[in-house]
């Protein structure tokens, strides 16, 4: 079974600065997808960025980028030019690319609470 670990429960960043959120995962599969979801106080789960394991190039979405290290099974999220609206809980998640049924589910880490200081 796959596991996702987010070992930092909380982080804080100054507005306009850069912060990196860490995530490691464990799997025996070679083909999979990784995601970062943002959950603000409204509770809505919002997809921030996704990475396909077969792609060597790190995904980027505006101020958000990832550092995907497949051999190390590491998937960190970098937020540049942090804004007050970035304050939220962030979840790292894994999904098998090969499986259907229940194995198509997302496996989540415990999340990290990011606060942004003005």
């Amino acid at each position: 079974a796959q596991t996702v670990t987010q070992s930092q429960p909380e982080m804080s960043v100054q507005e306009a600065e850069t912060v990196t959120l860490s995530c490691t995962y464990d799997t025996s599969e070679s083909d999979y997808y990784l995601f970062w979801y943002k959950q603000p106080p409204s509770r809505q789960m919002i997809l921030v960025i996704r990475q396909e394991a077969y792609k060597q190039q790190n995904a980027t979405e505006n101020r958000f980028s990832v550092n995907f290290q497949k051999a190390a099974k590491s998937f960190s999220l970098k937020i540049s030019d942090s804004q007050l609206g970035d304050a939220a809980m962030y979840f790292c998640a894994y999904r098998s690319a090969l499986e259907t049924g229940a194995n198509s589910k997302l496996t989540f880490g415990k999340g990290i609470t990011l606060s942004v200081r003005p």
Partner: protein, 114 residues
């Protein structure tokens, strides 16, 4: 598109009561999921469905039931509410794996059982 909608947003139940959490999606997704999120934890899969008329258990199905009579709707039923079911419940949907892989989430239902 409204995406994935859930009702109610909040609910308080007494132990032993029953209720149904509603979930509807308008994206014509085959796959639908119910997750629960306990405090300080990630989401865990309760039940899922690969299409109308087909449902199956996830990681934590005890105390819940589901049905999928249409592509759009995937209600979750709690028959005898217990305090351990106090949680936030999320419904999600996606295309068939292999066609697309992103899951779209509803806004969640916060349930308290006292």
């Amino acid at each position: 598109n409204a995406g994935v909608t859930q009702t109610p947003k909040f609910r308080i139940l007494k132990i032993g009561q029953s209720m149904t959490l509603q979930c509807t999606q308008d994206m014509n997704h085959n796959y639908m999921y119910w997750y629960r999120q306990d405090p300080g934890m990630g989401l865990k899969l309760i039940y899922y469905s690969v299409g109308a008329g087909i449902t199956d258990k996830g990681e934590v199905p005890n105390g819940y039931n589901v049905s999928r009579s249409t592509t759009e709707d995937f209600p979750l039923r709690l028959e005898l509410a217990a305090p351990s079911q106090t949680s936030v419940y999320f419904c999600a949907s996606s295309y068939t794996p292999g066609v697309g892989y992103e899951q779209y989430f509803g806004p969640g239902t916060r349930l308290t059982v006292t």
